[in-house]
């Protein structure tokens, strides 16, 4: 049985989400309830909207459902018709890809953005600008000073769009206290199904729609909704406080993992440890062994981890996140992401440490025999 340590790519469907989807499936497969389907679908969608509004401190009418976190990110960048886009250098490709011509905010070695540089980019009048900054990075877990950035951005008239996909379910999110004008979320990161995301807009702001026709989601997003998925999202939302309160336990496990690895290899580089981080994420370098090699070796040994973000795992390039933090190419290309979840156990972590130790031992032996 493989041990799953890739929660930042996808979390297993939570039991609440599964129960909600099973209930919704009954309706999808039964023609006589399809008759009342319109009403049922409406209930499901609006019920989830209410739960989500409650979970992130937004108003019900601020929420637009999308087909993914990626689509939600693309949508929050379309806030009003502002022309100037400023994004952090460590954003997810869902933001970077939808911000052509944007200026970049560099990050410091600890993985947090350079606020002084941002001030410089914004200038005295930023009423034409949208700034995009993620709440927590998907590769390193480093948490950004979003509240502080919100003040900086707003003081010169700018708007702030925050990709909260990876932080969702791991940190309390309140759009008001974050100071964000829009946030992007994904259901699958909190134990909901793949195929559902949401964009949340504050203060009556609304984006230029991207998918037109049909008039769903108040005209912001056309297309018949993924009712099953939205039902599952609601199921996952019912468990979000349990998920949030598990973070202390997850943090202990993550610290145990990092401490154990440091005992094996004291100089081991772990990204972002100088900054506040998500409690579940660890980006660990095994210098000299390529990340892809490690991931394959761990898979054979029965552990699912990743070499960075899932969407780009096909391609072998060094992480733009680590490079932006000033990590050397050598270290960046030998860093894997281990991400834990509420279902992770101490035994799983310990067995992963043994596997890490084995692989590292082999590498050291090879290095030594290579010298002969």
């Amino acid at each position: 049985m493989t041990v799953y340590l890739d929660y930042n790519a996808a979390a297993p469907l939570s039991s609440g989400a599964r129960a909600a989807m099973t209930a919704a499936m009954e309706h999808q497969a039964n023609p006589s309830s399809v008759h009342k389907y319109g009403r049922y679908a409406h209930q499901v969608i609006e019920g989830t909207r209410a739960s989500l509004a409650n979970a992130v401190g937004a108003r019900y009418e601020d929420i637009t459902f999308t087909s993914s976190g990626t689509e939600a990110c693309a949508l929050i960048l379309r806030l009003s018709n502002r022309r100037r886009l400023i994004v952090s250098a460590i954003e997810h490709s869902a933001v970077l890809g939808n911000a052509p011509g944007a200026s970049f905010i560099p990050v410091k070695n600890n993985g947090q953005i350079d606020c002084d540089f941002l001030k410089h980019l914004l200038g005295k009048d930023a009423s034409d600008a949208v700034v995009a900054l993620m709440l927590a990075n998907n590769e390193t877990g480093v948490i950004q000073p979003v509240e502080e950035v919100a003040d900086i951005v707003h003081s010169v008239g700018g708007l702030l769009a925050v990709d909260c996909a990876q932080a969702f379910g791991k940190l309390e999110i309140d759009i008001g206290s974050l100071g964000a004008d829009a946030i992007a979320l994904s259901a699958s990161k909190i134990g909901g199904p793949l195929g559902v995301g949401a964009a949340v807009f504050r203060n009556g702001l609304s984006p230029k729609p991207m998918i037109l026709g049909g008039g769903q989601e108040r005209g912001i997003r056309g297309g018949t909704e993924n009712v099953l998925g939205i039902a599952g999202f609601n199921g996952a939302l019912t468990e979000i406080s349990a998920r949030l309160s598990s973070s202390e336990f997850v943090c202990d496990l993550r610290n145990r993992l990092e401490d154990s690895i440091r005992r094996i290899h004291p100089e081991c580089f772990i990204a972002g440890t100088e900054a506040p981080r998500l409690s579940n994420t660890s980006a660990i370098s095994m210098t000299g062994t390529r990340a892809e090699t490690q991931v394959i070796a761990f898979d054979l040994a029965g552990f699912a981890v990743s070499a960075g973000a899932a969407c780009s795992s096909g391609k072998v390039t060094s992480s733009h996140v680590l490079m932006a933090m000033g990590v050397s190419e050598e270290q960046a290309s030998s860093t894997i992401r281990v991400s834990l979840g509420p279902e992770t156990t101490q035994e799983e972590v310990d067995s992963f440490v043994r596997a890490w130790s084995d692989l590292y031992g082999k590498k050291v032996r090879n290095d030594v025999s290579g010298l002969d």
């Binding site: 497969a29 869902a94 890809g97 793949l194 780009s312």
Partner: protein
Amino acid sequence: MTSAIYLDYQATTPMDSRALEAMLPFLRQDFGNPHSTQHQFGQKAQLAVEAARGKIARLIGADSREIVFTSGATESNNLAIMGAARFRARMGDGVKRVLVFAFEHKCVLESALSLKEEGFEVEILPVTSEGFANLDALRQALKKPTSLVSLMAANNEIGTIQPIEEAGELTRAAGALLHVDAAQAIGKIPMNFNNMCVDLASISAHKMYGPKGVGALYVRRRPRARLLPIFQGGGQERGLRSGTIPAALCVGFGSAAEIALGEMETEAEQLLLFRTQFCNILENLGAKFKVNGSLTNRLPGNLNLSFEGISALQVMKNAPNIAISTGSACSSAAVEPSYVLQAISASAADAEGALRIGFGRMTTYAEIESAAQTLASATSFQSSDD
């Protein structure tokens, strides 16, 4: 109280329980991100997504590399129209002209019209009173350099099957691409895009007994149809459609496609029989009605009727247990005469009376009989005076 009879199969279809069953493992143990291909969880999900892609390709005579997963036909239509039009405008010879037919789905019309903001010329072409694309108008319109033509495979309100093959030859000869909104037709009638000059085609899972929230865009490889994505990100689906693929939904879609391929032919015969029986019962009971749109070259599971002297809304009020609609589902909350019927120049009375009645896989003869009887009495003045 008798139980409700669902006759709105063009709005959405119930899920086939076999497709639902196929999805379940991907909601349980096989939850991996299909792009995490370096470990077993991801590989399992990826294999299942690729198998599903193959099944969808087989249903439409395509190569699996020609299938791009989307969140539904609305997104596919947006991607095809904006994506192909923008590609040629920005990366090609700069031609900025798009043609659509007046009875296309709202999302096709809106996507096309939104291009006007970007300086495109958008022409809306007429349709015949029988409910078919006016190919003479197309021929005429194609005399000007055009980047894209969009024509649906079958209309969502009146079910008329469009001359895609001829339209494809005209557009190909004129150097334009043909996009086909095939949401209503796929899985109902045989469609082989490989044999036709179709460059792009939109498919929806929930119109063919699959789940809501997933669809596909067929993108021809030879000659290659080129387009720009409408949003970017991780570069999934060959860069055309970013975002994590929802493996479970794709698997349900693939299963629905496989079932449709195997059962479409017998199902179509059955539905045609039901339709004839339904009309016969209505006639025998003395109901006065007119069929909107041609009865030949029409989806076997579609009827669109106007009963004499009574509005569609009144009929639906009189027969609350029959689930039928006045038009397409997305706009049916709004009470206005169908623009599709206006486009086929139906009289104002016919347009106001038009009811879409759809039969499908789960329909039974008992339902046909009971629904026809209910509608006959719901539309007869004698019985309402009783």
